[in-house]
């Protein structure tokens, strides 16, 4: 018990200890300042990029141009990736000779990676060539978090600006985020992963000899080799190869989450040891946490950053404790009247279905909480096989709108929507005009804040309804009853939060589901980006007002409490009826 608590403590302490210095570094990078060592190497590359793409790095864009640039870049990425996936069969670096994807799967996958979701309706090692993985998907894994960071810093600039309408240069922001933040960190993480055992090559898949050959019967089922029903014997197995570590590093750091392999970081090839688990798990929350501290530094009032951090951290802790408790307890179906040992002597114990031995319940619970708090969506255990309530907590974290740290950039601009909503409601209660960071909040800002807050829940409920009404969806389910509904709900929550994790028994590769989830991911990425930039554009025209005795503090404990309440009110209440039909119903039936 003490060991487990100590391990939870190490993860959380390291996360905060690394995020604080990174936040200072990110602010310097995004302000265009020089940084030690890296500037000498990277500034020439940076300037070459601007020359090639014909951008004047000193031009500061208004919100409209910033938005058009972000949309144009994302739209072209979408078209490029879609074409690449369709044409996979004729492109190079395809030793397994995999064919191009169907149009609906290519659409779904391209949208998924361009929206920083990384929902995967396919299994990477069986469907994608090295070209698609490294040249297609990895590139989006770098640029989408950079776009999120760029939009966030544009919003920061709008919040502190006193009349200057420029929000910065979109192309410069993305370039610097990629070159100075994402590339160096990914290089380090990738090398650690390889050292611990993750493959990194362009070889054909390896075929190995089985110690115990198996038989296959006439129906294609695997039986013992000496079974009379066996019609043939199989004595070989596959070991998937490829440039895995390089893609895994950035899928974690960029809150992307799309694994090289279908089972993601549960595969010992992607995540070979508890050390890589620590590194990958910290990577997935590191930049979103740093963004919050960056915010405090940027507005020159670090208490503002700490208050938002406190609200997010409390929600994360509550979720982590809940998941760990439910998973360590397990289910009566597993305990099988005492025939199975659930204790922790020389084993992890608890609910080990869908979990890896090297991680056990502790590392799996940490990952599940981190990956759904961040909009990462990578997994190191199968969420479909979590206990009913242990699997509900990740759903709630995503349904809150991915604002418990959330995606790189996107998590915090989503949360700032909730902050403004809280300021407004608290202002109404005491009868004062709402202000935030010394600026008055008007009707236009409120409209944008509300859009930021309700886009996710609204999209989730609409998509879940559409899929639940389609009779064909039933054929995609891996479990029946309440858990079957949970599988559908989880898919729409994951797409709606731009998360990408799944109850993976659900077969999402049908035309209907590919298209519905694809549209949901698109809307949930680009509506909030637009709202954040409109908000930035309108805040930068507002003059500072003097702080008075009646000004509501947005950095004390009371405000943190109000903010948490507001997040739960919007996110959790809209989702409660749906959750009651899925995980809650399943839990109650389990206890019968």
């Amino acid at each position: 018990m003490m060991d487990e608590l100590l391990e939870y403590g190490i993860y959380l302490a390291l996360l905060v200890a690394l995020a604080v210095p990174l936040s200072a570094y990110m602010n310097r990078v995004m302000a265009g300042e020089k940084v030690a060592v890296l500037s000498r190497v990277l500034v020439p590359v940076e300037n070459a990029v601007y020359r090639v793409i014909r951008v004047d790095k000193n031009e500061s864009m208004g919100w409209k141009k910033y938005l058009v640039s972000a949309f144009a870049f994302s739209a072209l990425c979408l078209v490029g990736l879609f074409a690449l996936l369709m044409l996979q069969g004729v492109l190079p670096l395809n030793p397994e000779g995999l064919p191009g994807l169907s149009w609906d799967l290519a659409f779904n996958t391209a949208v998924s990676f361009v929206t920083n979701t990384n929902w995967q309706a396919y299994s990477g090692e069986a469907s994608l060539s090295y070209f698609s993985q490294a040249i297609g998907l990895t590139v989006q894994n770098f640029v989408t978090p950079a776009v999120g960071l760029a939009v966030l810093f544009a919003l920061f600039r709008g919040l502190v600006s006193t009349g200057d309408r420029g929000l910065g240069n979109f192309f410069v922001d993305v370039t610097r985020a990629v070159l100075f933040v994402l590339l160096p960190l990914s290089l380090v993480v990738a090398i650690v992963d390889v050292q611990q055992g993750s493959p990194q090559n362009f070889n054909e898949y390896e075929t190995v000899q089985l110690l115990e050959p198996v038989g296959v019967d006439a129906d294609g089922n695997i039986v013992e080799a000496d079974d009379p029903a066996a019609v043939k014997t199989i004595d070989q197995a596959t070991v998937p190869m490829g440039p895995q570590a390089s893609q895994v590093a950035i899928k974690q750091l960029g809150t992307n989450g799309g694994g090289f392999n279908g089972v993601n970081s549960a595969s010992a090839l992607e995540n070979p040891t508890p050390l890589t688990n620590l590194v990958q798990c910290l990577s997935l929350l590191l930049i979103p946490v740093a963004c919050v501290f960056s915010f405090g530094r940027f507005v020159a009032d670090r208490r503002q950053g700490r208050a938002v951090f406190a609200a997010m951290f409390i929600l994360l802790l509550v979720a982590l404790v809940a998941i760990a408790a439910f998973e360590q307890t397990g289910t009566p179906q597993l305990a099988a009247d005492g025939q199975v040992c659930m204790g922790t002597l020389d084993q992890s114990g608890g609910n080990m279905e869908g979990k890896e031995t090297r991680f056990g319940v502790t590392d799996s619970s940490l990952w599940a909480a981190f990956t759904t708090a961040a909009s990462n969506g990578s997994v190191n255990a199968m969420h479909d096989s979590f206990t009913p309530l242990g699997g509900m907590v990740p759903m709630v974290l995503m349904a809150l709108g991915e604002v418990v740290f959330g995606g790189v950039g996107s998590g915090l601009y989503g949360m700032l929507g909730f902050v403004i909503l809280t300021v407004f409601i608290a202002g109404l209660m005491v009868g004062r005009t709402p202000e935030y960071l010394g600026k008055k909040i008007g009707p236009k800002e409120m409209r944008m804040a509300v859009i930021l807050c309700i886009t996710t829940p609204l999209l989730i409920l609409v998509s879940a309804t559409v899929l639940a009404l389609d009779p064909a969806t039933a054929a995609s389910l891996n479990n029946s009853g309440a858990h079957g509904f949970s599988e559908v709900l989880y898919a729409t929550v994951s797409a709606g939060g731009n998360n990408g994790s799944a109850f993976a028994g659900f077969n999402a590769n049908t035309q209907m589901i590919n298209v519905v989830l694809g549209l949901e991911m698109l809307a949930n990425r680009f509506i909030p980006i637009a709202a954040a930039l409109v908000l930035a554009g309108s805040m930068c025209t507002r003059q500072k007002v003097a702080v008075g005795a009646g000004t509501l503090s947005t950095s004390n404990a009371l405000f943190v409490f109000l903010l948490i309440l507001m997040v739960l009110l919007v996110g959790a209440l809209t989702m409660f009826p749906a959750l009651a039909l899925g995980p809650v119903a399943e839990h109650l039936m389990m206890m019968l």
Binding site: A126, I135, T138, A190, Q247, L334, S385, N478
Partner: protein, 199 residues
């Protein structure tokens, strides 16, 4: 007109990032990996006298009485073939809800199978990782408790003494990293290669 310039820059930017983050980054990581850690970078394949027996990181299914058993697995064909076009095995997780009837039946069937092969253990509860499918479907490890559970059966069927079996298990056990990270685990394929005298 102004917008056309933005779109042109955006298109060029897509190409530039594709070269930088796709090609250059991947090639640099591959170069470093192959130069410094060639064994790991090529998937930790266990090769003895020219035969490749598997990867340390990918489990195989064992059901023989003289082999250590690993996590419950569901091997399948149809995903991959070898160079001759013949089916080879691949694995995946169950994705069953641990609160479902299907799961309860799967656990009971596995419990019965294990009990039948280990009469000497009587009614002793079976470690939970031995009756469950893993996250990847090819978890190469089991817990020390699950390995210890099988020692007497392995001794009986391999002609080795229990202490010889325990010594092999010991050699194939990795402790929590730095004494605290993750759980202790036994690599099942390595144990069986040693039991067979190959390693």
């Amino acid at each position: 007109m102004k917008q056309a310039k933005t779109w042109a820059s955006a298109g060029l930017f897509f190409l530039v990032t594709t070269v930088l983050c796709g090609a250059v980054y991947t090639v640099v990581v591959t170069g470093i990996a192959q130069a410094i850690f060639p064994y790991q970078a090529n998937a930790s394949i266990i090769e003895v006298d020219g035969t490749k027996y598997g990867s340390e990181l990918v489990a195989q299914q064992f059901t023989d009485d003289d082999h250590m058993w690993g996590r419950l697995m569901s091997p399948s064909t149809g995903t991959f073939t070898n160079d001759e076009g013949e089916d080879v095995l691949w694995y995946g997780p169950s994705n069953l809800s641990p609160a479902s009837d299907d799961f309860a039946q799967s656990v009971q069937a596995r419990v019965d199978e294990i009990r039948a092969a280990h009469p000497e253990k009587g009614d002793e509860p079976i470690p939970s990782d031995l009756v469950t499918n893993s996250g990847s479907g090819f978890d190469p490890h089991i817990s020390p408790a699950a390995a210890e559970y099988q020692v007497e059966r392995l001794a009986k069927n391999t002609g080795k003494t229990p202490s010889e079996i325990r010594a092999i298990i010991e050699q194939c056990t990795e402790q929590p990293q730095f004494g605290i990270l993750g759980d202790a685990r036994v690599n099942v394929l390595k144990v069986n290669l040693m039991l067979d005298g190959i390693l």
